[in-house]
């Protein structure tokens, strides 16, 4: 079995989720049907809704099940933008952090291109924390009057930086502007409470917490108006259509209960492993730079399962390849085009240059991680790093002499 250090991409299904899934999946029944099978499926879905609501600090009516985090983000960002602009045509600005996941970033860019939105990319500091001053500046002097919505992720998927959501909501609330947060990485990893947050909308995903892929939810305040993105039967509060995945939702609920009940304990355990990885990398490769917040200084400002480094003079995909060959599965951390790691927009927003950003590697831990994983990683790292360093940056000129280098 390879050592799996890519829980931020997806985490293995948890035992309670698997039990729930297998107990439900063989039962037929569309939760929208009115007969016995339908009612049984509906009962499972509604129980899951109550469970997920409890786990996320929301009312059951605030849970809109989706096909995952990406759909939830699309629904929130497009749906809020359209609803707000339709109510007040002057509200076309979207205030958005510059380190969002593609599900938000690309959606905002689409709205700019096709729907007349104006994106304001809020800068982040060197640790990836969004600038509250910049946000305040955009709201001041009547600026708030043209804002449709504010969206900022709860925690960053690449460098694990936890954003000041409470402060953002406090700044924006007086203007009555809805705030959305992509909490896909945060939910189940650190305390997340929808009601206490004051957010209008919040995206969560099942497969990041031990559920199955293809299931997620948008938590949406009861009073928040949203224009639907996909049309059909209107199964979810009339803003989201499509037959629900009963078994997947049962697994989602079981996983949500599991992670929230064990959160305090697991948070500590996983953070301990993460700190061991950070210490080991710093020992083996002193020149490696931890990106994001140093948990030794501000433990609550970094996801417990995230360690992210840049390795000077190494290409991230070389490191990934060598670790993969050695049985350690990691990630360059950034979004891929056709599987090609591009310099991360998150690292560039944090002020890194392209070459430095290309040396990125993310190690993310989760519920199945153990000390043995860390030890295996620590054993594989020195050789992998030495070779990756030797391979250097392929983006640079090759030293092989040929006719045209004479």
């Amino acid at each position: 079995m390879p050592v799996y250090l890519d829980h931020a991409a997806t985490t293995p299904i948890s035992a309670p989720a698997l039990a729930a899934l297998t107990s439900v999946i063989t039962r037929s029944g569309n939760p929208s049907s009115l007969h016995g099978s339908g009612r049984r499926a509906r009962a499972t879905v509604e129980a899951a809704r109550e469970t997920v609501a409890l786990a996320a600090g929301a009312h059951p009516t605030e849970v809109i099940f989706t096909s995952g985090g990406t759909e939830a983000d699309n629904l929130a960002v497009k749906g809020l933008f359209w609803a707000r602009r339709d109510a007040e045509p002057g509200r076309t600005r979207i205030l958005v952090s510059s380190v969002e996941h593609a599900a938000v970033q690309d959606t905002v860019e689409w709205l700019e291109k096709h729907e007349g939105a104006e994106a304001v990319w809020l800068p982040v500091d060197e640790h990836g924390t969004v600038s509250l001053d910049a946000l305040k500046k955009e709201l001041d002097d009547g600026g708030a009057n043209t804002v449709a919505l504010v969206t900022c992720m709860w925690a960053n998927n690449e460098v694990g930086t936890v954003q000041p959501i409470a402060e953002i909501v406090a700044l924006v609330e007086p203007y009555g502007i809805p705030v959305h947060s992509d909490a896909v990485q945060a939910f189940g990893s650190i305390p997340v409470n929808f009601k206490e947050s004051g957010l209008a909308a919040m995206s969560i995903s099942a497969h990041k917490i031990g559920g199955t892929v293809g299931v997620g939810a948008l938590l949406l305040g009861r009073a928040v108006k949203l224009t639907p993105v996909q049309h059909g039967g209107g199964q979810e509060r009339t803003v989201r259509s499509g037959t629900l995945d009963t078994a997947g939702l049962a697994a989602f609920a079981a996983a949500a209960t599991d992670v929230t009940q064990n959160l305090a304990k697991e948070n500590l355990r996983i953070a301990g492993l993460r700190d061991a990885i950070i210490a080991a990398v710093r020992h083996a490769v002193p020149e490696a730079v931890l990106r994001g917040v140093d948990p030794a200084e501000y433990p609550e400002k970094r996801l417990p399962g995230n360690a992210h480094f840049t390795f000077p003079g190494c290409e991230g995909d070389s490191l990934l390849f060598l670790l993969d060959m050695a049985g350690v599965e990691s990630s360059t951390g950034s979004a891929c085009t056709a599987g090609v790691p591009r310099p991360s927009h998150v690292l560039l927003a944090m002020g890194l240059d392209e070459d430095t950003a290309r040396g990125a590697q993310r190690f993310s831990l989760g519920h199945t991680s153990s000390l043995a994983d860390v030890e295996a990683f620590v054993a594989a790292l020195p050789q992998a790093h030495a070779r990756a360093k030797l391979a250097g940056m392929a983006a640079h000129q090759s030293s092989i002499q040929t006719a045209s280098t004479q």
């Binding site: 995909d317 390849f321 085009t337 056709a338 070779r387 092989i400 040929t402 006719a403 045209s404």
Partner: protein
Amino acid sequence: MRVLAAMSGGVDSAVAAARAVDAGHDVVGVHLALSRMPGTLRTGSRGCCTVEDSNDAWRACDKLGIPYYVWDFSERFKEDVVQDFIDEYAAGRTPNPCMRCNERIKFAALLEKAIALGFDAVCTGHYAKVITDADGNPELHRAADWAKDQSYVLGVLTHEQLKHSMFPLADTPSKAEVRAEAEARGLSVAKKPDSHDICFISDGDTAGWLAEKIEMTDGDIVDETGSKVGGHTGANQFTVGQRRGLKLGTPAADGKPRFVLEIRPKENKVVVGPHALLAIDELKGIKVSWAGLPIAEVATGAEFDCYAQVRAHGDPVPARAFVTEVMDDGVSRQSLNVTLEEPLRGVAPGQTVVLYQGSRVLGQATIDSARSLARPEIP
């Protein structure tokens, strides 16, 4: 051996990788991302660089049971191949970007990275053959199927590069056989069309593509005596040997068609003349390299018999050649002098001349000047 199979997504590289696996090597498939913004689906005759091609390569690796990765060489490709292509045209020369890619990307940037990462060789689907002697010195030879032979575009590889090159399709009798083998192996790319054209010019319109990249200014078209016979909207859009699209105002004395003989970017001038003057029988080459150990005459400067080929699918002609050492900026460089026994037409500076003895590739040079012994220097 640990072998890195460069996988374009086409049938040749897939079968080459399969043969490397069969030969017992430890093979990893790598697709080179050469464009920063790859297209989604393949269109026209391009055979690489789209997401679909990358996925084809991936599925082939799945079938072969080998790991697959995509490595980003887009920046290098942009600088070393695309920009070079533009610069060469801007300087009035006609480059071969595929050759350049082999020289600087596949068998330099990729090979160097591969060796550093622990590989012994880079394997590609080129039709060419490497023969290694008892001392481990490689020689590059034509493939068994001369119709498909691609040794020309590999002629730029050096001794060091060839030592780490593997071409499993070397002895394949024909492309049909490669397709049949792909089919038999269950590779989905078995019927995928061959690629043509320059991979980074998606619609195949090289002149149009260049016109957007190179500043074109109006200039004169002159004949072989130096008299103005017409005008043009940019010298760089012409290639030597071109007949169509000259739009000459003054007809030739003999009424026969005229062809582009020379492009002079510094004067922004295009020289045209009769077909007979296209015949070239002497070439001077720079940026010389030897595909393996150079033959003895290279060091002595003695003339040797060989065959010269100036384009990928052109016929080789018998020739005599010798090497001189030229001092340039305090550095001694080789210069190649080739006398063609049979004249060649449409030879342009910037093209590569590859020299052969039998099936063996001796080496290559970039053509710096080409002239006809029968005609005086054109004014």
